[in-house]
């Protein structure tokens, strides 16, 4: 079985895995980081979004081996020293979550959207969330949360 090594949330990790292991499986099963979720099987729902080398990636559609040597950030790695990331805080402040299942992927996508559009408007947020499906919130408060976080992230 091949070996994969990468940095996850700032820590070096190594695993012996089958080549077909998805990044999301490596995170959830091998590393026990269950914050990243699997919500579909067609790479559309976005519950699995993580950051790889600073960019949003759907971890269900990436092999762990493809990320050998990369720096991965999951939802568990977003808060620093116990302090919530502005995007996390904004989701709570603006009630951008209900059941919480899509939330890790939404937050990671939200951070990526603001990284690319620091001055983001509502229409852009809605368009950029095409790859993240939520069944609970109707997106109204998710959009508000991301817009608010953008201001705090400047």
């Amino acid at each position: 079985m091949p070996t994969v090594s990468m940095t996850v949330n700032g820590k070096s990790v190594t695993g012996q895995i089958e080549a077909r292991t998805l990044l999301v499986e490596f995170l959830r099963e091998n590393l026990g980081l269950t914050g990243t979720h699997v919500g579909c099987d067609t790479s559309q729902c976005g519950a699995c979004v993580v950051h790889v080398d600073g960019k949003a990636v759907k971890s269900c559609t990436s092999l762990a081996m493809q990320n050998d040597g990369a720096s991965v950030t999951t939802i568990e790695g977003l808060a620093k020293n116990g302090e919530l990331h502005p995007m996390q805080a904004a989701f709570r402040e603006h009630h951008g979550l209900q059941c919480g299942f899509c939330t890790p992927g939404m937050i990671m996508s939200g951070v990526d959207i603001v990284n690319r559009y620091p001055d983001v408007d509502e229409a852009t947020i809605r368009r950029e969330l095409e790859g993240n499906i939520c069944r609970c919130t109707g997106y109204h408060n998710i959009v508000k949360a991301i817009a608010a976080a953008a201001k705090d992230m400047r």
Partner: protein, 788 residues
Amino acid sequence: MSDTGIGASVRRKEDYRFITGEGHYTDDITLPRQTYAAFVRSPHAHATIKGIDSAQALKAPGVLAVYTGEDVAADKVGGLICGWMIHSKDGSAMKAGGHPALAQGKVRYVGDHVAVVIAETVAEARSAAELVEVDYDVLPAVVSPAKAQAAGAPQLHDEAPNNTVYEWELGDKAAVEAAFAKAAHVTTLELVNNRLVPNAMEPRAAIGAYDRGSGGFTLYTTSQNPHVARLVLSAFVGIAPEHKLRVIAPDVGGGFGSKIFIYAEETVCLWASKKVGRPIKWTGDRSEAFLADAHGRDHVTHAELALDANGKMLAMRVKTIANLGAYLSTFASSVPTYLYATLLSGQYDLPAIYCEVDAVYTNTAPVDAYRGAGRPEATYVVERLVETAARETGLDPAELRKRNFVRSFPHQTPVIMCYDAGDYEASLTKAMEMADYAGFPGRKAEAAKRGKLRGIGFSNYIEACGIAPSAAVGSLGAGVGLWESAEVRVNPTGNVEILTGSHSHGQGHETTFAQLVSSRLGIPIDQVEIVHGDTDKVQFGMGTYGSRSGAVGMSAISKALDKIEAKAKKVAAHLMEASEGDIEFKDGTFTVAGTDKSMPFAAVALNAYTAHGFPSSEIEPGLKEGAFYDPTNFTFPAGCHIYEVEIDPDTGVTQIVSATAVDDFGEIINPMIVEGQVHGGIAQGVGQAMLEGCIYDESGQLVTGSYMDYCMPRAHDLPSFKVGMTKTACPSNPLGIKGCGEAGAIAAPAALMNAITDALGVKDLPMPASPQTVWRAIQQGATAQAAE
């Protein structure tokens, strides 16, 4: 109102774990020595099983066992039940076929569970599942209820001739016929309420485990009602007696009804865990959710509304054929009957109603409650009829409604429900203002200059929720009572745990329930912990669905808090050497009336447990009280939604330019959470009206089997919403709460289709009104015009 009390938009206590990835959903949980299950599912919609050969599968790497329907039958595992008896017009009981946990002799829908493979890893279980050889004798299939009822159709269950489960009626047929005979105008519509797949973002999952030492079972399950699951699995399926079965519903990622029911997968995982001697986990993938979660809606309806010359409604006549799928799911029979026809009066003073419902088996997935459960179907019938009647008679849609509103309460409808309180014109007026209805003609003209078509539509919905008074639903066929339970445990150090039979899978109970307790006991909200979802902790509860957890769940807490207050006052009276009648309790402090003697709640709590200061012969130590609350009536949230659309005739793309919702939910505990429920409900209503539709082909293959073919609402499909409230308190529960979880999904489809048909100038359009459907309607209209 304090900033954490009733009526405050308190930020949610439960959010921390969800925003940091520390939630515990069922698939996140790993038990020691856990194995994994993969289900073998039927690729055919209808077939007999001639034999199953598991030999190759059993030899595959990592496989511990393969079980089939024969093994289930040999262990006398009971079938999955439908818990609501419905009687047909002729008085006969509904005709229900069996629903085994693994197919016995026959499969009846694509996805039907045939066998299970247990293996060391998920991959090994799935690989081995492909090696299970099932010898099918394929039978013709039928997916349309009308065809299923016709002579010569394939028969799914021997118990149900012509695949008809029941032929039910409600109302006064003769009175309706007489009224129609005198009507000045009759509006008729043929309506299809399209089949939907609930698609909670967390797929269903289960972990079954058996403890050889104690002989007890534990089941982790993505359930909206763990106690109901335990009751069904013990009393009906017979896997273990209740006292030897612990059911835990941990964090659950959405339900919308689809996680109420007791399914084959958790049943099999639980049963097989004893045989295999190790825990068994199953996590569905999205394809399985499409195939095997209970679907929603799927009604075909012929509806007529009779009016007099002044636009007064005289009568409504409805005939519905409801597709229940291949087997009766847990509440399936109740959805197109007592949750549907009883709302056909809408907000209107309709003297006569008659409704017939035929429920039919077809070779499709079982159909059961999905957000709104019967009330979206009813609202669609009523509000499409009303809007169409307005157009046909030349009356403004708001005006027609005003001429017919129920204005005095209580109001007994002709269809069982007795509305207790409401002010329908207030929500209509407010919605019209917020939506700037008066300005619509100007906006329509301006859009036309840009070559776009604008339309506006109303939906004045009313629903019956806060389910439900136990004796009432019992008399209508329910097998269970629909009360709720709560236990308030005050700890010696003064903090409080609330054990509730409700279950939160997104509704924010850990916050809203705590708001109630914090405000009643005058203690900080962080001193209140809400415990739910574990049958080892909470004695019994009926769970969360039917918008009941505020109205019923919180009323149970309120009753228990009454008892806590009463006992605490007794203790305080002894401690402060006063008589009980002189003790007042306010803002967390007990005082002796007319004196400055006082004790804070925490001090009374501690004393209740040290028991030094009062005679234990008179007052038991401790401060813990429970209550069961049985509602005295359904609650009746109601409101007015107005949606405005703009259609591009070249592409059929329909944009919702504004969505206004004004709802009367009675007393509101947390406005932020209530608005969130409205947003989510509207989104699902938009999904039904414009995007979603579950399609089977004629051979019973599920064509829309993934997100590639089933269009889920995304952020860019929706506007930001305008949400307003009016209030008439609910008179039937101590808190005045009506419930809000389903209203958006109930109201939205009718409002949207009213808006779209308005924009296009057509009488009707099928849901979903996708760009293609809208574009074709425009082309047909243009062709018709050109031909004139």
